[in-house]
Symmetry: C2
Subunit: 726 residues, 2 copies
């Protein structure tokens, strides 16, 4: 024990707050084969979906954890150690290759060089260990393998990989050895109903806004059944024959008792219809949530936009659960395209890296790859794009290193499905989705090739990081070749736009917004083509309109990238404000202003099929953070970043954007910009001013007509006086 | 219901034996994704190993079942049907794509064309269904997939495959919907001890011969613990500090009760040492076994050989459990090389095809392949050889069709590991085993190339069966190329033998028996080389002797193939008779006649490490059936077969060899051969006679000097008078 530790321990003992053991073992955590817990937990989460009482599992392939895993670590201990052992699964322990008798709960490891092995079998849950001595603790430095190959002399075992530790995920408590990983649950807190009203056959309870959790009955008594109909709207809860979720609760209680339901559900309204022989006193709920800190903030002069930001943040938080889900009422599945937007919003609200990583790993599954992620071609590409952004925002190279082999095999799956032109067209079993909209996605769809090119660029970056030069060069060439084909294959000079697709070598007539808007913020086009698209596609009402917040996300992003913040501000107020005007307390899966009343709740041919709390509805968080506050990384992990505030017609705005470590705090009006950054990196503030700007604490450089920039250093406050010239 | 069925039902009702429902639904069985139950059950079985109370799992990769599976079937029903539904897992039911509410235990399917889907999720055990209506029943005609790809128009889904039914496996009861597949257990029956003797600290119980099962205590009473030490020998049971298996049983019973232990173990002797506060009246056991019928028989004029055959049959039966295991005391694992011999013996004792198939499937696991089967290179090849033989003996094309993709991927794994010479040398992670013997297996080992060539031949046959012509041609060429290299690379003209290996292009000096003996019965050599090997290797005491029954199996087979039955008879008496003389009640993992006393029990550096009941010890069953009775198939599934009796020095012999349907019954002495076959195929009897033979019921053809043959038809008795000229 080093001196500093001794002092800390002595201090703690003195205060009698923390037992010495806890401090010494503070690093111990449950560990397992990388990614396996995510796969296991995502199976559990995604198989919770029900539709009116029927079980409704995902329709894509699910993978399993490795059921037999060997954990090991080599030690060189200054002194002997008594080590406690906790395991989820059946197991044995070997010290220096020698089997310890039985299933020991504690072993003694002598001082000196020793090797500790734990081998665990578990078919039901993920083989996991928690080891805690004074020196020997389970953490991310352990190695793990799913086939130990005792017979090799060679120590280079390609399947060895460092185990996944969970200390980094603060919001998940895996530091208690008495709680098995499989017992993990989100947190809950009690919430009261806003109103309870008696109706014809039962009681309608309103919780005031969209929520998620476990309904709880107080003073429940009697014998019979009780029907519970959930509704994101009052109409849905009362529609007992068509509401999307319901529970049939058997009751058999002689004396009145409290009862909390076993399944958590999404709702604002609940309609409870008990048999006449069943009574209860009142109904409340336990709100179930992932305890994430909202590190991002946004406030501005427009109260409607402030409300939009808050409802968007709540919408994202409700959908940020064990993993990033699509929506809380219906699927509660992990959809790659939906999750991709949650990653991006997350960087401007929570910056919770574990949620991003866990979702990426759960989506990817394992080998062999036999179909696209979620069966959707574009969703495979969004997975790669998610990696691209995650590395840019977090700079987390360790994650890339751990999962590079799975990136390679997924990309090989794609490369093996190219046609003679080197492009990917839908093959049997592929769903070419893009958006909920009438689209003809036969043949070579330009949008898919664009995402494919970006995916190949991602692989080039990752291969380079991995020092896998032959692959980096191969992916780079594949990306270049494909990008070089995009204009000849899909660009129409006449229409100033990419066409939707090419079938049998012939461009289709259809122009859609998708390819055109992505090409802008991918930076694949020159300024002339960008402005052609803006005029002829994005701001052209003749081109089929987008009705999902999902694709509005990218449409508005493209407009922001073209400097149209003012237009985007008005669109946000109109579209998201439109939902608020209809009473939305969270943002929807789809919103068509032309619909009326309960029409808004219908989708998929069902009267309440639509989700009224859908992650992809929360995009204002991203747009306002990245394109109004204007903060974004330009080198991995915010080592370099830019701050380009754009008021877009607002009088003032202020807020905070989180980085992996630290935040960028910004406030801005037409005359002043205040910035303070605690980010571990170098920022560049860029702005437009009609007058020569001034800042007492930094040198301002002129970078163009009315354009200026200055460097932002960590922990320095800057006040810039200027005259906004957006 | 057709008329015949009506009559049967009426008849059954009359007899009041079987309810009508049972008869109508007689075809219903539990079904699951092909192979998944084998993988799941083999994980369960192989993880039962303990070593002195410590958990001892396999050291190779284990796979899992698909956890989310869709079962479906299209019907065209003359009338509506009420269908009972039983499921292992969470599930939903769709009729014509429409979800049935809840988890229905019964559904009504209207008459006409309909599609029934059951989708099942189960992480813990294998998703399985049992469906029983009058017309609609779960059986092997259902289709199943682990990813249903709802979004395809195209009905051609490559992952669809017909479900595995279990009706064919008579010895496993999967026809009761109330018993879940995961609850499957082998059968048991009570057995008494032969003697119980008080020793210093406890009681030594002798069950009279090697056995396997659950120890059962009668009148157990008191509070404390009871130690149980198991022994295949008396010495082992009494060696409380070194015996291989033991149980520590906590006892807490105020009144005397019976208690049967939870874990089944192998033993002949048990040493029970209770705390002084624990008492019991007596000890018996429940013998645990797979109920297989011994269809093969062998009797002869030599009583020692008869005893050897009986002990061999018992040894094989003890090791024929959920799968073919190596030995019952220690591993209880599925080792491909060991199992391969069990397949061959099985064809001459039980002819139980399910056991062969299930073992092959469990060994193969799933994709991706990342190491050799059991980590051993030769064991991968034995897997292919097992397929070769299984198809030859059973003619079961459906099995090949189902698992061809897994054959292809395993062979690709091999082909990717060839060196520049197109040969397979051990790479890091590979165990090149061959036999428990001092061997230098570096470089290109001739034995491995020989098995590799046979594996490629197997793939050629299977690809041809699958109508996969490009692959058949590719594998055929690869096999030919490799076979053409064997003589130039490994044959030594000087030594009249294959050398053991080639390192850096240079032949090693070592001659071992392995390659040489396999090359003979593979039929890869001309008669001159065969006899060179016989003289200079097989019958040359200077060449390192084989001490495992495992390789004695092939050594004696090669000698039989060369017509040395008389020599082999004497070897069997000497080697297996030698074990009997030492009191063996089952045959051993290894036997070295030069060892003394308890030396025989030691192996792996442990005093009782050796298994005294090892499947590979049972080879006389195979040798006596195939090379003495002389029955073997020459076309798949015994459609054609030969009967070539060789007395090998016996005065007379008689026995029976099972085929997929029917048996060949044979008796033979120096003057008469009697044959009767109930096999569905055409046999050819071949024999040598010094005089012109006679048979009243068949024409005898002369086929060489003193050599004759005649055709054997089904269900005809033949008596041939001759004068044996072996």
């Amino acid at each position: 024990m080093n001196e500093m530790k001794k002092i800390i321990v002595a201090f703690a003992l003195l205060l009698m707050i923390i037992p010495a053991e806890e401090i010494l073992a503070q690093k111990a955590t449950w560990i397992w084969y990388p990614g396996d817990y995510d796969i296991w937990l995502s199976n559990k989460m995604q198989n919770r979906r029900t539709e009116r009482g029927a079980f409704y599992p995902p329709f894509w392939r699910l993978y399993s954890h490795y059921n037999l895993v060997d954990f090991y670590k080599k030690y060189d201990l200054p002194e002997g150690d008594e080590v406690e052992i906790f395991v989820e699964g059946d197991y044995n322990v070997k010290i220096d290759g020698k089997l310890v008798s039985g299933r020991p709960g504690k072993v003694s490891i002598p001082g000196g060089k020793h090797e500790l092995h734990l081998k665990v079998y578990n078919q039901v849950a993920v083989p996991s260990i928690f080891v805690r001595g004074k020196q020997v603790v389970s953490d991310g430095s352990w190695m793990v393998t799913y086939e130990d190959k005792e017979w090799i002399d060679d120590s280079g075992n390609a399947s060895d990989i460092s185990a996944n530790p969970w200390l980094e995920a603060d919001h998940r408590n895996f530091s208690d050895p008495r709680v098995l990983p499989s017992a993990y649950k989100l947190e809950t807190r009690p919430e009261q109903a806003k109103s309870t009203v008696q109706k014809e056959k039962g009681w309608l309870i309103d919780f005031g806004r969209e929520t998620f959790g476990y309904l709880s009955f107080h003073g429940l008594q009697g014998s019979g059944k009780m029907m519970v109909y959930y509704g994101e709207s009052e109409e849905e809860a009362l529609a007992t024959t068509t509401c999307e979720t319901l529970d049939e609760i058997p009751v058999n209680k002689e004396v009145a008792e409290d009862m909390t339901l076993i399944e958590s559900r999404a709702f604002r309204f609940v309609y409870v219809v008990p048999d006449p022989s069943v009574r209860f006193g009142s109904v409340s709920m336990f709100y179930e949530f992932l305890p994430l800190e909202e590190r991002g903030r946004f406030r501005c002069s427009d109260e409607q936009i402030n409300k939009i930001w808050e409802v968007a943040a709540y919408t994202l938080h409700l959908n940020s659960r064990e993993f990033f889900t699509d929506g809380i009422k219906r699927d509660r599945w992990i959809w790659s395209g939906d999750a991709y937007q949650s990653y991006l919003m997350n960087y401007y609200l929570f910056f919770d890296s574990p949620s991003v990583k866990q979702t990426l790993v759960a989506l990817r599954g394992k080998d062999p790859v036999s179909s696209h992620i979620n069966t959707i071609m574009d969703y495979t590409f969004y997975w790669f794009l998610g990696i691209y952004d995650y590395y840019l925002y977090s700079g987390d190279k360790a994650f890339i290193e751990k999962y590079y082999p799975r990136m390679v095999s997924l990309m090989e799956f794609c490369l093996n499905r190219r046609n003679g032109e080197g492009m990917m067209a839908g093959l049997p079993g592929d769903w070419v989705y893009i958006d909920w909209a009438p689209l003809d996605n036969k043949g070579e769809v330009s949008f898919e090739q664009l995402l494919f090119a970006r995916s190949l660029e991602t692989m080039t970056i990752c291969a380079t990081l991995m020092n896998d030069r032959p692959s980096a060069s191969r992916y780079g060439k594949l990306a270049d070749d494909l990008k070089a084909k995009l204009i000849p294959a899909f660009w129409s000079e006449e229409k100033h736009a990419f066409v939707h697709s090419r079938i049998d070598g012939k461009q289709s007539d259809a122009i859609t917004r998708y390819t055109n808007m992505f090409a802008i913020f991918f930076g694949y086009l020159d300024s002339l083509k960008q402005h052609g698209i803006k005029e002829h596609v994005l701001m052209n009402d003749q081109v089929q309109k987008i009705t999902t917040p999902y694709m509005r996300f990218y449409e508005l992003e493209a407009l922001c990238a073209l400097g149209e913040q003012d237009y985007v501000r008005r669109e946000i107020k109109d579209y998201w404000g439109g939902m608020l005007n209809l009473g939305a307390t969270s943002f929807w899966e789809k919103y068509d202003p032309s619909e009326k009343g309960a029409e808004h709740y219908a989708m998929y041919g069902r009267p309440f099929g639509k989700s009224l709390c859908h992650a992809w509805g929360a995009s204002p968080i991203y747009l306002l953070g990245k394109y109004f506050l204007g903060v974004k990384p330009v080198a991995p992990g915010y080592r370099q970043y830019t701050v380009e505030p754009r008021l877009g017609g607002l009088e003032w705005m202020e807020g905070s954007v989180p980085a992996p470590l630290g935040n960028v705090e910004l406030s801005c009006n037409q005359k002043e910009i205040r910035v303070k950054s605690t980010v571990d990196g170098t920022g560049t503030l860029r702005f437009k001013s009609l007058t020569k700007p001034a800042c007492k604490t930094a040198a301002i450089r002129k970078s163009g007509e009315n354009e200026y920039e200055m460097t932002i250093l960590k922990n320095t406050e800057y006040l810039v006086k200027y005259k906004n010239a957006e």
